[in-house]
């Protein structure tokens, strides 16, 4: 495969620069020795990282967020994959409506969902529970998963699946051994995107999180409502480091490319 031309590379560098700029600045600020947000002009300090230790609720929230993200995105994938296949593969009555329904949470402002879920969960007694959080997150992240899986499965070469079933693969086996691996980049991206969205959701979660089970972004959000100090930057930076480390480990163990690109491709 040919490489990118100089123009493309310049574009690429600028693009990455744009993406990284605010993150780098947050990381830089995290090392300040001042009591307020500023670039570390008077020497580096780890005091704000140490301060995270004094706020165990950030760490607890981080764990909750991870768990919530993992559970809800996995559930969302389980629901989205069959639905995406139905929509991508079949012409049936109500197809458009079903698709619109599945994508609709995207179009409902999260603040509205937050209020709606809060009232609903309070009514059915799920208020402030982890189950409630998971269910609401499944709803809001499903469109992401669905959209990416749809993009991966529309226009997929059906002949390959035909080949599998001609060799005796049942629908399920055919799905598991052929369709799934082929749409895996879509499914994986879908999962990642779903996870990220769940992990990062604030607006809605603010309403349904209870003090016991709250997510990191909600904690951060509530925290900066009242104090913007370098602690937020330190938590963010720590989160960035953890993320990068996790990605690197994932890359080593499984291969990010393999996950997002799929096997047997260049």
């Amino acid at each position: 495969m040919n490489r990118n031309g100089p123009v493309a590379l310049i574009f690429h560098v600028l693009f990455l620069g744009f993406l990284l700029a605010p993150i780098l600045i947050v990381c830089a600020v995290a090392f300040t020795s001042e009591g307020y947000l500023s670039l570390p002009t008077n020497g580096l300090s780890l005091r704000w990282f140490r301060a995270i230790g004094d706020n165990p609720e950030f760490i607890r929230a981080f764990k909750d967020s991870l768990l919530l993200g993992a559970v809800s995105s996995t559930l969302a994938i389980l629901v989205a994959v069959p639905a995406a296949l139905a929509i991508a593969r079949h012409q049936f009555f109500g197809r458009e409506a079903i698709q619109a329904l599945f994508l609709s949470p995207l179009m409902v402002p999260h603040i509205v969902l937050g209020i709606a879920f809060l009232r609903f969960f309070t009514m059915i007694g799920l208020g402030g529970t982890f189950v409630g959080l998971v269910l609401s997150h499944v709803i809001i992240i499903l469109p992401f998963a669905l959209r990416l899986i749809l993009a991966a499965s529309t226009g997929m070469d059906r002949a390959v699946e035909n080949a599998a079933s001609s060799l005796g693969a049942s629908s399920w086996t055919c799905f598991r051994r052929v369709t799934l691996p082929l749409i895996l980049p879509g499914v994986a991206s879908g999962w990642v995107l779903a996870f990220i969205n769940s992990f990062d959701e604030v607006t809605m979660t603010v309403f349904i999180a209870s003090p016991e089970t709250t997510t990191l972004p909600v904690r951060l959000f509530l925290y900066i409502q009242d104090n913007i100090d370098p602690l937020v930057a330190a938590v963010s930076a720590a989160l960035i480091f953890v993320t990068v480390a996790a990605m690197l480990v994932l890359d080593r163990v499984y291969g990010l490319e393999r996950l997002l690109v799929g096997k047997g491709r260049d």
Partner: protein, 323 residues
């Protein structure tokens, strides 16, 4: 099986004080666990409304204005009698008897002393100083759904011949004179702090408690009450109607009114004590509306009138001022 008491209250420096100095003692004394739900007054009021009929919060702490509303919306239960109520100044009591002011701060003007000195601007002395064209795009004011912003609006009305019952002059003043200076109508105390720290704002209408917290970080910010008078902002607590832990909730409120808690709130969060038995050393009194005389020097606003008109004012505010 330990009971859990949910307390919804402000975040930030106030939360730190509560968590470190007030809650542990209460937990120990009563064998309950306290979960702190951070949020500003309006957020917490909204939560109460959402959970109506199935309240998860046991105790709520709100600014006095929103507390009137909470009481009016029947979110609060009656306060049980307890000896500690007899130790309070009268100004702590709220007319309904369902909520109690446990502290007070004052609304005034905060400014960046370093910036003022550098540019040889004299310290502000009057509410009208925020109209100084030198502060173009350098002024920050909370919007009127926040008590500080509301105070500012009422104050401007009063200075121009109006008041709570005739708010027009206030709107006019904001629209014509103040708006050009306003960098942001900023409700979030965190954001307000950040605007100061990044030197984008150098003057603001804000509260004494918040100002104290900012100054405590080492930032050269100074708080003054303008010569026309600062305004008192009460902070009130109530037990939520239908709470499953009513007894503990009542105890918690009583605990907050106790001398020990009152002292801690004063020293760490800048809340003027409402308990007569609290004695603060003079050096600790700076920036705190301390005792009836000092509190008495501050102006009060008429929440009844305000709350009646608030909806209309909000509407006008978003359309005329924040546009």
């Amino acid at each position: 099986q330990e009971k859990t008491l949910y307390v919804a209250a402000y975040g930030g420096s106030f939360e730190q004080t509560m968590r470190k100095e007030i809650i542990p003692a209460f937990e120990k004394a009563n064998g309950v666990k306290v979960e702190y739900v951070a949020g500003n007054s309006t957020d917490n009021l909204a939560k109460l409304q959402a959970q109506k009929g199935n309240q998860q919060i046991d105790v709520v702490i709100l600014d006095d204005g929103p507390m009137y509303q909470a009481v009016a919306l029947n979110f609060c239960a009656d306060l049980e009698k307890a000896p500690v109520y007899d130790q309070l100044y009268d100004l702590a009591k709220m007319p309904s008897g369902k909520a109690i002011n446990f502290g007070a701060v004052g609304t005034g003007i905060l400014y960046n002393k370093a910036y003022f000195d550098e540019n040889k601007i004299p310290a502000p002395t009057s509410w009208k100083d925020i109209e100084d064209p030198r502060f173009k795009k350098k002024l920050a004011i909370p919007p009127i759904n926040n008590s500080y912003g509301l105070h500012a609006l009422v104050m401007m009305a009063r200075l121009n011949g109006g008041g709570e019952t005739n708010i027009d002059p206030g709107f006019k003043e904001f629209k014509d004179k103040i708006n050009p200076n306003v960098l942001a109508y900023e409700p979030s105390p965190g954001k307000m702090t950040e605007l100061f720290q990044s030197n984008q704002a150098v003057i603001a209408v804000w509260g004494s408690g918040r100002a104290k917290a900012l100054a405590d970080t080492g930032f050269p910010a100074t708080f003054v009450y303008p010569k026309e008078g600062g305004i008192v902002l009460g902070s009130a607590a109530c037990q939520i109607a239908g709470s499953k832990n009513a007894a503990e909730a009542q105890k918690f409120i009583q605990h907050m009114l106790g001398a020990e808690a009152q002292t801690a709130l004063a020293v760490s969060a800048g809340f003027g004590p409402v308990n007569k038995t609290v004695e603060l050393p003079v050096e600790k009194q700076a920036g705190i509306p301390y005792g009836p005389e000092q509190v008495g020097k501050l102006l009060v606003v008429d929440w009844d009138t305000i709350n009646k008109n608030r909806e209309v004012w909000n509407k006008r505010w978003t359309r005329e001022i924040e546009r």
